[in-house]
Amino acid sequence: MAIITYRDAILRALDEEMDRDANVIFLGEDVGRAGGVFKVTPGLYEKYGPERVLDTPISETAIIGAGVGAAITGMRPVAELMFVDFAAVALDQIVNQAAKLRYMSGGQLKIPLTIRAAQGGGVGFASQHSQCLETWFMHAPGLKVVVPSNPADALGLLKTAIRDDNPVIFLEHKLQYTEKGEVPDGEHLVPFGVANVVREGTDVTIIATQRMVIVALKAAAELAKQGISCEVIDPRTLVPLDMETIIGSVKKTGRLITVEEAVHAGGWGGEVVSLVTDEAIWYLESPVVRVTLGAGLVPFSQPLEDHVLPNPERVMAAVHRVMET
């Protein structure tokens, strides 16, 4: 076991997969010589050269399109979007092309493309550089959606993403790049569609992703002091989504809370709740509460940003609400 950062776990995954498979290439804005604007990928350019680590112009449509075309013709490209917000200028290539070309060609094409992007708030970048957009991609069948919350998962899930024959959206929370965690030595692969029960409990099930897992764990630790036992589950991938683990937990606890750093309307938490009510409504002992960003956007000013992002206090309030009913 080594203790490394989330950032270094991503770098290790890229390095290991590029070393293992010559068809893996990496392209994006300033990912090579500069080592990435988030300093996630230093050294890859020097190790694998300009043919496999490709600095691009600021042209997100051209970047993703090149990834799609290279993937169709036999490569395993990893394309970096820098901020996930920039997906908005390349959505045709992501949603209409990468996601749908296999289907529309009747299964003739496969697109083993991984798209990496940083998301999330908390750093004062305002509304166009702070979004969590995982739900956008869930709405385009054909895309897998991966949301690692810790270094070990970042390593194991990115390696799995690169080996997957489908297009994968791999979302990194930018506030987590410096977080440290234990990572297994040797080959470490985390399968898609297998949730991680981060903390076991009996009273309430809390589903959270990425930085919200940490928020939920802080709340759970405080609530334990009050005698409330929370089970915290990290789905790790939203497509595919491990509903079996989630429903099993709800059947045990009878109470459900989802915690998302994204806009409330249409968020993945709503989908989780819908699927739980399909399968296990009679096990629910209280209404379900979703903790989200709310109806608004991420503001620039720090007190305002701190106010809108979900925090342990809001999760605790949600738990108290479901425990009272």
Binding site: T73, D92, Q93, M104, S105, G106
Partner: protein
Amino acid sequence: MTSATRNMTTETLDSATRQHMLQRMLEIRSAEARIQELFLENVIRGTTHLCDGQEAVSVGMAAAIDPARGDTVTCTYRGHGHALALGLDLKAFMAELMGKEAGISKGKGGSMHLTDMKVGLIGTFAIVGAGLPITNGAALTAKLKKTGAVSISIFGDGTANIGAWHEAINLAAVWKLPSIFLCENNMYGEYSAYDDTAPVANVADRAAAYGIPGVIVDGQDAEAVYTVVKQAVERGRVGEGPTLIEAKTYRYRGHSRSDAAPYRPAGELDSWLARDPINILAQRMIHDGQITEAEVNTLRQNTETTIQQVTEWAIAQPYPSLDSAAEDIWV
């Protein structure tokens, strides 16, 4: 002001290649005519974008590349001609247009979305501009794997005004990719005239902005198209980078099935019909003693018979199983 060059010499192809191109153009013309009827008869649904008048671009392009060595093509939804020129099986083509199980994409794509990797066709793309960035990806694979293959993206004059077009050509130029950008300037982007939507005289003039060759060619002359595409292919194969080609051509029909093209000035269609690509090649072959007028007519009739037989076969094919609607989403 024009910065692009016009091709001045046209290669004379051998009799067999000319014969093949003539046959394919007749096949495309006949298929498009039948497809229009099938729409009116409600046998084909959705929409269609027919290419009659532009056949020389398709066959000239197809003769200049070699899918067997890995060359690939992306094009737009006006792609029937390119698909057939590349050799997409007629039955699989017609069945796809009818949404049948035997369609090349099992009825998932239809008229606007044809893919057949066996003939190098990555896809006909119905989102304007989508094909160019993807062609770059295929060209990148060829460059990295050192196969010498090229990738051609074919698009209309309307595409030259969308962002993806500029991003893709810029990237191809910066990376010296073996991409070829082949514009079919048929004078109209949907219902709008070229001059109303672009500030430069020729699409190929824009090549100067990316530091790559821009070449203008007569899109009604299959051999001229072949000549300039071949030159671009040779540049690509040896690592000299992309080329932007503009074939001046004309679509005989409107943009799509619902467009009768009332915006075209009187006499314009007739002036282009006088330069019909099939007649140009046929007359040249007759002049060179490679075919007779009677043989051309026989070829035309035989092609129409084939198209009719394929149509009847496709009509008789079953629709896909309903379960297949949920298949092919994931690998």
